[in-house]
Amino acid sequence: MSPAAISRYRTLTGIHDEMLDGSGAVRPGWAALADDLLHTSREEFLRRQSLADRLLVAEGAGHVVHDDEQTSRAWRLDPVPMLVGPVAWGALARGLEQRAQLLEAVVTDLTGARTLLTTGVVPPAAVLSWSGYQRATAGLPSAARRLTLYGPDLVRRADGVFVVLADHTDVPVGAGLALLQRSVSSRLLPDLHRRAGATPLGDLSAALRGALAAHAPAERRSPRVVVHTTGPGRPEYLDHSYLAAALGYHVVTGDDLTVRGGRLWLRSLGELEPVDVAFRRVPDHWIDPLEVPPGGPGGVPGLLQSVREGGAGIANIPGSGIAGHLALLPFLESACHLLLGEDLLLPSTDTWWCGCPDHREEVLGAFDDLVLHDVGHGAVRAVGGSVPPVFARDLDPEERAHWRSLIDRSPHRVVAQRRLDLATTPGVVDGEPGAQSVVVRAVVVSGPEGCHVLPGGHGRVVASGTPALAQASGTAKDIWVLAGPTSAPIPVATPDVAPIDLRASLPSRAGESLFWMGRNAERAETVVRLVQVILRRVEQEPELLADADGPWLHHMLSGLRSVSGAIGTLPGTGGDPYATLQAEVASALAGRAGSAADSLGHLVSSVRSIREHVSTSTWRIFGMLDAEIDGLRSAGSADPVTLGETLDRVLVPLLAFSGLAKESMVRGPGWRLLDIGRRLERAVLLLGLLEATVVPPTAPEHRQSLHESVLTACESLVAYRRRFRSDVTHGGLAAMLVTDATNPRSLAFQLEQLLEDISGLPAGRDRTVQRSIAARAQDVLTDAGRFGDADTGTRIATDLHDVVLEIRPLLLELTEEVVGSWFAHAPRARRGAG
């Protein structure tokens, strides 16, 4: 590395650096990245950072971190990965594998025989005084490894040694985030990714599927596995859903599950389907409000009982969190001797539990050099961590007194760790390369065939001045493990089980989200398109704006109000027509419930909750839409050109979404419900538009422009001209938009598709009522007869009005039936006496 490069990247003497060795030479494997750091301009770094930000947003990941709500914030990915060489990683992986085995044995022991406590290898109080120790989970059976997924936090010390800061054994997050980061970093630095030879992460899913399948009760050859999460509203959901999508399993929350007959069931479109294995992402103190009251997000009453009876396999086993209790760290080495008969390969950082008098003495003696953790009663136990630890030397006198008195009066609550100087690795802050320290959440999957250590992990940049575990920085870092010259890919045992076909199964909650996605996408598209049609027509024929109460303007704006959720018709103002137009457009785009922005907001948030049902490209589309919502909100004050561009930027991804839904989604119940939502919405909006524009009497000389605009908004003008080769007539328009079953925009077409979608839902669901309603609506159209080609004026308008009045209630009834019978949610839980 040249002096210039060293001047850009400074390291501290005596501190291990990942890229440069003690003499300032570039370590093996880092050459390409070092070269890149040297030659990359500030502008290019800034561009990469903003690309990384955009890619994260496109993954729906822009505003989430892996901790509890209090610390949730936007997070970013540092554009420079941390590289780990094959030799260092090999040693680390062996240590992680042994540690996973040890902690498995610790979980088994502490929820069973408790030899660790009776022998005094672990002081009984270290476990028994901890508020996180779940007594209700004692003695639960497990068909496979209790600790299927383990996620330690590792750092490299300034002396170059890797140590474990904390073991996460309950519901460790990180696996999904590691996959997500890799998908971003490999797109960010495609060339470097290839040249550096980063080991791919693809084996994780297969390893995890095999490990989970092993939890199925013995007689179930094709286990149904679900990812059981705390729900889309929670920050950890990103990790859960990203991993679930990679696994190909349903994401379910507490409301999707129920326990009957000692077994676990999934509510799937109004029916119950058996679940064999729940991949538990709900912390053990939330999992079962019946046995661990009051429970929390994701809880399922009776779940522990179903595990106890072998009616469901749960991984990790409830209660596994005990092995990650920080107070165990000082005793793990002896535990390893007792339980495995081996020396511990991967050391923990120096840790003291104040419940031991001699530890307490040491802590009080070395106070200023320590990081303090309150693991005690009443402390919030966040998902994947504890309350943020503090540096003792930074405490003010009052805080210092608090900790001293805590150590004095409740010593069992205090765990102390040595404050570490950490190794450094290059990163980029504000476009400048600099040295950072990173804490790595590793991922270890244990299955019947052994352990799989993910060659990578979810790194977090340590914020300066805070303990590594405080998770204050919110900057993630990808970890690239370099392939060694001789390293062969580690074979992953694929499970010897027939995968179950999940195409016919759909959790009711996901079904409902898809249904509303269909409706919201259609509404947003209709509103945006209608606004476009109105604005273009006005540009072409400015005279339409001559009179605020002119029939074209009045009817079109009434139609716009109708499709964008306004209550009541357009009041005749007699005011400035341009101002009226602008105000109406602004409210239709963003001014109320039912507006385009409102519908898009719902659309984007429902897609987040069903990530595993949509393709990666769909995600990107939603990233684009999400970015435009703000543009729509300021649409009212935008000039016509800007507004037109914004509308295009919204419309194009919406069209892409409907195209993807058609071309890239399996025609399972999910697609059917999405389509039912779209068809119902399109039919209802069409009726509203016709009612506002074509039904009211209009003088013949105004009809032409009105009819043309309506047909354009319905994408049917060109088709009309090809069919009728004439000016637009009342009858022709009605035929085109109402009864012509070959026009995908017509009412008849929507009804036909609805019938087909309803019939296409998996057999066994009761669809009689829904089918009969759709058929009744079709009968109305048949009775209305064909709207003739000739313009018979008011008679057609009256007929059209009758159609609207008869069909609209049927569509509303159908909507209620769909929602009521297929999405019937878990009835609300009430607490009995107790």
């Binding site: 408790r114 406590l117 009776t118 009984p124 109080a125 028994l128 005084s129 508020s131 007594r135 209700a136 004692a138 003695g139 129920t258 326990v259 009957r260 007959g261 000692g262 409000p289 019946l290 046995e291 009251p293 009453p301 009776g302 009982q305 106890r308 009876e309 009663h377 009443g378 009066r409 409740s410 069992h412 878990a826 009835p827 609300r828 839980a829 009430r830 607490r831 009995g832 006496a833 107790g834």
Partner: protein, 286 residues
């Protein structure tokens, strides 16, 4: 003294004004065997007939029954009936100086019960209140009995004041509550000093002997405290009825606090609606 034999009948009736679609219950209503208590017969009857029933023993050794009614129902009646024989443990212990008992708090069984628990947090004021009786070198049994008498004298039995969710801080501040509250208070005092003590749920003889007053809390399930006395065993004391004799108590279950031993805990699913609760307990010497 000959053993006392009791017939116990504990009926809990729920009526749901809006029927529920299904419900899960966890019952700790079957009396356990102890060194001083023999269980001659025990049974729980649930109406409507549960669709699923399973038993297990919890980490404290209590008998737990899980029942699920998986069809719509508008009531749930749980009746526990048992026949038990209670032996007299002999005269109350004096024990060692209380500090020696604190030092002897080791081993899983004792350590399990020496730390704060969800319903019995460590409260400085409460520890100080209890510490008054624990003068240096005082024998453990004497200190406990004085503390129990003080609680009985300082606190008023008031079934209207608290329910199962009332925190012990409030009970301590208001100086009133029921057996459960007084037990939590006593546990807080003892654990604050480092002693091991458990919460016991059970029953107390409900028909007073001729000429004796009816005991408080006799018409419902009862709760008291058991303190570990080194080289003696677990010493039952009742801050609600300090005068009651050991043979007047039938033990059902024990744990760290009420949360570990709630006799009946349930979650039902259904549309929102009110529910009525009726509890009746009969403990008859026979």
């Amino acid at each position: 003294m000959i053993p006392a034999r009791y017939s116990v009948r504990h009926r809990t009736g729920h009526r749901y004004l809006v029927p529920v679609t299904n419900g899960h219950s966890v019952l700790r209503l079957l009396p356990r065997e102890t060194p001083w208590q023999r269980v001659l017969d025990r049974a729980v009857h649930v109406d409507p007939e549960p669709d699923h029933v399973a038993d297990h023993v919890d980490v404290f050794g209590n008998l737990v029954r899980y029942c699920a009614v998986e069809r719509p129902h508008d009531h749930l009646e749980v009746t526990s009936s048992s026949l038990v024989e209670v032996l007299d443990p002999g005269p109350p212990p004096d024990g060692p100086p209380w500090e020696a008992a604190v030092d002897a708090t080791s081993g899983i069984e004792a350590v399990e019960l020496a730390y704060p628990s969800p319903l019995v947090p460590l409260l400085e004021d409460l520890t100080a209140y209890g510490a008054v009786s624990f003068t240096p070198g005082r024998l453990l049994g004497h200190a406990i009995r004085e503390l129990v008498d003080r609680i009985a004298a300082d606190f008023r039995f008031d079934p209207g004041f608290s329910d199962v969710t009332t925190p012990v801080e409030e009970v301590f501040a208001a100086r009133r509550g029921v057996c459960q509250d007084f037990s939590h208070l006593l546990l807080g005092c003892l654990r604050g000093l480092g002693l091991a003590a458990r919460y016991v749920s059970g029953y107390i003889e409900s028909i007073p002997a001729p000429g004796m007053p009816k005991l408080q809390g006799a018409d419902a399930s009862h709760a008291w405290v058991s303190v570990r006395v080194p080289d003696w065993g677990w010493y039952d004391v009742d801050p609600t009825n300090p005068g009651a004799t050991p043979v007047q108590r039938v033990t059902v279950a024990w744990g760290r606090d009420y949360g570990d031993v709630a006799p009946l805990r349930g979650v039902v699913f259904g549309p929102p609606g009110d529910q009525d609760l009726e509890v009746a307990v009969d403990v008859t010497r026979c």
